[in-house]
Symmetry: C2
Amino acid sequence: MNNARFPISLHILTLLAKEDGALLSSDYIAGSININPVLVRKEISNLRNHGMVESKEGKNGGATLAKPAAAILLSDVYHAVQQTSLLGNSRNHPNPDCPVGKQINQHLDELYKDIEGALLRKLEGVTLADFANKF
Amino acid sequence: MNNARFPISLHILTLLAKEDGALLSSDYIAGSININPVLVRKEISNLRNHGMVESKEGKNGGATLAKPAAAILLSDVYHAVQQTSLLGNSRNHPNPDCPVGKQINQHLDELYKDIEGALLRKLEGVTLADFANKF
DNA sequence: TCATTCTGTAATTCTATTTATTACAGTACA
DNA sequence: TGTACTGTAATAAATAGAATTACAGAATGA
C-alpha cells in the first residue's frame, strides 16, 4: 500500500480515542497529522460509513468515536481503507496465450488471500484502545 | 503496495522456473507479462543482485535461475522488491507538539514490524518451485 | 434573525510516482 | 562483421495521490 490512508485513519481514530467523547474538528485533526483538512473530512466520512465514527455538522461540530475504542479492531480500519491488493498487481493484462500469463493472476490472488489472512489475524488481535493506550 | 514489482518479479521467476535451464530473453518475458522489456531487464538486474537470477549478454543471451526453484523463497522475492512500508506512511511529518503526532510514527513502525513478520512467515513457507508447480 | 463556525462534497490543480519509450554502448555468437 | 541480445541512462507519458478552492448546508448563540 503506497498511499497513507491506513496511517491517517489510525491517527484520526487515536486522537478521537484519547479525547473520549469530545468533538474534534477536522482542522484540529489535520493540524496533528499535518495534512489538509479536506482529506481528514474524507477519511472521517469513510470511517463513518464503516460505523467507527460519528460526526456533527455546524458550529462546534466535529467527530467522535461511534463506539468504545475497545470495540474497534485494527482489522476494521484495514478493511475500511483497503483498496488495492497487498503486494500489487500489474495493471496490464498478461498474455492469455502464455501458459503462465494465462493463470498468473488467479494464482497471485490465492497467494494474496493467504498472506492477507495472516495479516488480518494480527490486526484482529489489536484494538484501537490497545493502540491508543501506548500514547 | 501500489507498484507492480512483486508480481512482475514473481512472473519472471515463474517463467524461468518453468523453462528450467533455458535462457529467456527480456522481449519474450515482456510479452508474457505485457509490459515494456526495459522494465523486465531492470527487474532481472535487481533479482540478479539478490542472487536469484543470472543472465548472459550478447546474441542468444537471456536470463535463467541462479539456483534451484526449490531454494528460492517468496520471502526472498519480497525482500528484493520491498521499498515502502506495508500499510503506508504519511509523507508529512506529524505535529511534534501534539502528544499523538509526536509518537505516532514510532508506534506505527512497531505495528508494521509485527504484521510484516506474520506476512514473512507465510512467504517463507512457499518456494518458487511450489508456486511454479501450480501452472 | 443572522453572523459565525463548522461539516460534506465536488471540482480542480499540483506534485509525486510509476511505467513506457528512446537511445545507445557493450557483449556474444555464427 | 552483421545480428541479436543485455545493461543502463535519460526522457516522456500516464497515473495516482494530495492539496487547494469553492460553496451549499447545518447548528449555534448573540
